[in-house]
């Protein structure tokens, strides 16, 4: 029976809702959730945010195992949420389905590409929602919408039955308004952690210097609370490279994968794309192979260095996004500037496959900004537990 309950934030895709009841018992019993419309739910189309994609792909014959696992754990699926077309964008804009409202800052973008899932959670329509993250698509809308969000360790959870964008970067991810719910979902989906202590607390200079002063200031109380939990901060330079270099390598390696993954369809179907998405696919098509190779080559020692730094259980803390969400009136050039500054930060975990949890700890210019906790691959459960402790220390609804 399709669900037609109100959608004041434009979080869900238009049309009948994919509603599936969960098992009658289980660790997520009674929780309501939504899934970004790049996860298959049997019997429903998967639009991937684009009408031509929906037109040229059959309805899903199977449900993605990650969604099945949530249903088997007792959660009830309320529907599929809007996404940036082919998940290739960070603002959350979608000219076909409409851009979801940011419930916490209605004059600003919700962030993307998992915009609808973030809006559904921030607006209180569901308890949690699945997104996906290639270059920040869970972390950024979590920061912009003032909710919790996790990009797990790359590879920790299967993406079978989900549309891909850059397979060696793609992860699932989820949002919740409460740390406890974020953690309970993790207990269902995540593998066992690798054993390691948590701490010390590392404060890398680059993403803090990169943040707008108001955003950095808004996170200061949370950093103090984190020091109360983990001991004094150790400040360090993360990499000899600049964040601009990280962004450039990320962009090139990811564009190569985006075109390898989706280019055959784009070339054959010649889909109509909205602004931004169109330009990004055109750039992916023209990507210089030497630049892509440089991006691939950069990843290996960078990932090895990050893993070595974090191997003992250290946790990095830095602003998830350098600023709150851009305003809906921002020009394309302004949006691109935000995108570049933002993706230099999100590239840290993206290039190295690290888990990252964004905690909604502050307001800058009256709009939400998140603090990210980042650990070594395989430390997802410890990171979720730390986020819950931080939320408790800050008195956030948990």
């Amino acid at each position: 029976m399709p669900d037609h309950s109100p959608d004041p934030f434009g979080a869900f895709i238009p049309g009948p809702r994919a509603a599936v009841a969960g098992a009658p018992a289980g660790p997520l019993h009674g929780l309501a959730f939504a899934v970004k419309d790049l996860y298959d739910v049997a019997g429903y189309p998967t639009t991937y945010g684009n009408p031509d994609w929906a037109r040229t792909h059959p309805p899903a014959a199977a449900t993605a195992p990650i969604v099945t696992a949530l249903l088997q754990a007792g959660a009830n699926l309320r529907g599929k949420t809007r996404t940036v077309e082919l998940a290739y964008g960070l603002t959350g804009e979608n000219i076909w389905h409409g851009t979801p409202l940011n419930p916490k800052a209605p004059e600003r973008f919700p962030g993307g590409s998992s915009c609808g899932s973030a809006a559904a959670v921030a607006g209180g329509l569901v308890d949690f929602a699945l997104g996906s993250d290639t270059g920040g698509s869970v972390r950024i809308p979590a920061s912009y919408c003032g909710i919790f969000g996790i990009r797990p360790s790359w590879g920790a959870i299967s993406l079978a039955g989900a549309c891909g964008l850059g397979p060696s970067f793609d992860t699932p991810g989820w949002f919740a308004a409460r740390a406890e719910v974020l953690q309970r979902v993790g207990a269902v989906l995540l593998p066992e952690d690798v054993p390691a202590a948590t701490g010390p607390l590392l404060k890398p200079g680059e993403p803090w210097m990169n943040a707008e002063p108001a955003a950095a200031a808004a996170l200061a109380p949370a950093m103090a609370a984190l020091e109360g939990l983990l001991g004094p901060t150790i400040s360090l330079a993360l990499v000899p490279e600049t964040l601009g270099t990280l962004y450039e390598h990320f962009r090139c390696a990811q564009a190569e994968e985006a075109w390898a993954t989706l280019g055959s369809w784009v070339a054959a179907a010649n889909p109509e794309f909205g602004p931004g998405v169109k330009e990004r696919f055109a750039a992916a098509r023209e990507m210089d192979p030497a630049k892509a190779a440089a991006g691939r080559a950069f990843r290996r020692p960078f990932a090895a260095r990050m893993r070595a730094l974090l191997a003992g259980g250290a946790v990095l803390a830095y602003p998830t996004s350098p600023s709150p969400a851009p305003k809906l009136t921002a020009s394309p050039a302004e949006q691109n500037g935000v995108r570049e500054r933002t993706m230099g930060v999100t590239a840290i975990a993206g290039l190295a496959g690290l888990p990252e949890v964004s905690v909604p700890v502050g307001l800058a210019d009256g709009a939400p900004v998140g603090l990210s906790l980042v650990a070594a691959p395989g430390r997802d459960r410890a990171l979720l537990a730390l986020a819950a402790r931080l939320a408790g220390a800050l008195g956030l609804a948990g």
Copy 2:
């Protein structure tokens, strides 16, 4: 210019060869290679072994980054090789393109699903060839065709631009007749190893008990040589479960992913499949969700146990396949029996994401059998180095 050089073993897909010259210099300069026809090469169709797949998918607009990396390293692509339809089978049979000959045992199957790549290498047509491995599709043809083959750590190398079967199991992989070439390709494709010593040498009871006596006996000299390199063998029981239990959990979890990945296309295109493949997709469609959930649930503690066992640098050694390749005259029932006994062994690395190298060390009943070396995830380079040392100690052409 299409390549029409002879193909005495039926390794390549019919029609013009995908031939692409590599860079004029690089660590693989002058080597010839082939790729299983589930990797995209720009301008060519990707058949995935099935005419209906080829008919319903556009030619590739992009080349898979793993193939680009090999070309950039100076290797020359000679063409695309036959695969079991949608990579869902272990014998190497393909009724549409023809089953490649096993150059080392022409009366037997070549093994699959990467049958053409194994035949091209074993027959001396190329220096190395890319395959892919979900449930044994590189390891088994390596064992059956008497060549080296590696299934790397899950997630170590991007599968962008490659068709998927079970994303949380799928890995690329490659074959070579010489250990030194296998290792050189790894030096181009693999990330840095996690640091750890190599050894001790562990001999797990289950896959040795599961092997035919002639196959186990054929591997004895190689085990003695391995002891010369790593010290005395430590015999142990790998798991409290039987290999049959491992196979069952693997089969169910993988079938769920296969249907989630390919079911929408199968349901919409209603493709014609050859024998075996057809039945496996029918079983995947009907997979009991409770069994799939049990398979998913089994993986986590199993993988954690394997990683703990191997964390210090230990290496497992056991027969890659419990027997040489089945004869071409084997009945479907006999083939299924071999498949079940074989996949109980291949499920060890498959369920836990472990790297596995098969070394062609012996003959049983006059046909090749391989010895597998298996390590913790991230130890791929160490494993390739060990395989090269073992090949040297055994006087194999290296």
